[in-house]
């Protein structure tokens, strides 16, 4: 069960990497939500209030569940335009 994780902008710089690729057991993945993945990937105990998250390029929240092959992106508030 593969999960691809991407980090952007200031978060990418803080973590010192632009992404991770994880291989979870099926049982473990089905018990995880986005908040758990964030803790697992970054060792940060809480989910920052302003942190944005997208699964497969669509916005979602920390309570969303995960599926095999998902691309999960964490990033700070967007500042385009």
């Amino acid at each position: 069960m593969t999960i691809k994780v991407l980090y952007f902008a200031s978060l990418r710089e803080q973590l010192g990497r632009s992404g991770d690729e994880f291989d979870f057991e099926k049982d473990k993945l089905s018990s995880m939500n986005i908040g758990n993945l964030w803790q697992y990937a970054t060792s940060q105990s809480s989910f920052p209030e302003e942190l944005l998250v997208a699964v497969n390029q669509e916005y979602t929240d920390q309570f969303a569940l995960l599926n095999d092959g998902d691309e999960v992106a964490f990033f700070p508030p967007v500042t385009g335009g």
């Binding site: 902008a9 390029q57 990033f75 508030p77 500042t79 385009g80």
Partner: protein, 155 residues
């Protein structure tokens, strides 16, 4: 998907300096050149300023999340097209390193009616600012860099 997704549009992410008016004219000639049923075109051009929050800004670097950028911008255009009778839309957004007075973004909306053009253009621009995954990092005249923290409403 509603009617919105069938309305023509062009979404362009560019890594080099671009001329928004030239691109608009070029796209209009290509995609609207044979049409005589649009009465209203509204556009917005965002340009890099050389100051922000009281500091001199020498340049900016724009990062984005390519796969999501495209998806989000298309969804924003779809939403606009379901709200207003829009005939065509052009969005151009710059990424990479950019300097003062260069264009950051162009949003153009064509419609038969001026309210739809004005409202649609502004809706797309606001949604882009708050939803499209772009991030700006400023290089200041003191030699340091900083990430822009947040887009303001209408700033």
């Amino acid at each position: 998907m509603g009617v919105g997704s069938t309305v023509p549009r062009k979404i362009l992410i560019v890594e080099e300096s671009f001329d928004p008016l030239w691109l608009q004219g070029d796209y209009e000639a290509d995609s609207m050149g044979d049409k005589t049923d649009y009465g209203a075109t509204a556009n917005f051009i965002g340009t890099m300023r050389d100051f922000n929050e009281g500091d001199d800004v020498l340049s900016m670097t724009l990062e984005h999340y390519p796969a999501m950028t495209n998806k989000q911008l298309n969804e924003i255009v779809d939403q606009a097209c379901e709200k207003w009778p829009i005939q065509n839309t052009l969005i151009v957004h710059r990424v990479g390193e950019i300097f003062p007075a260069e264009s950051i973004v162009l949003v153009t909306v064509w419609s038969a009616h001026r309210n739809a053009a004005f409202d649609g253009c502004r809706f797309i621009m606001e949604a882009l600012k708050h939803q499209a995954p772009f991030w700006k990092k400023e290089s200041l005249s003191e030699g340091n860099t900083r990430w822009v923290a947040e887009n303001t409403d209408g700033g």
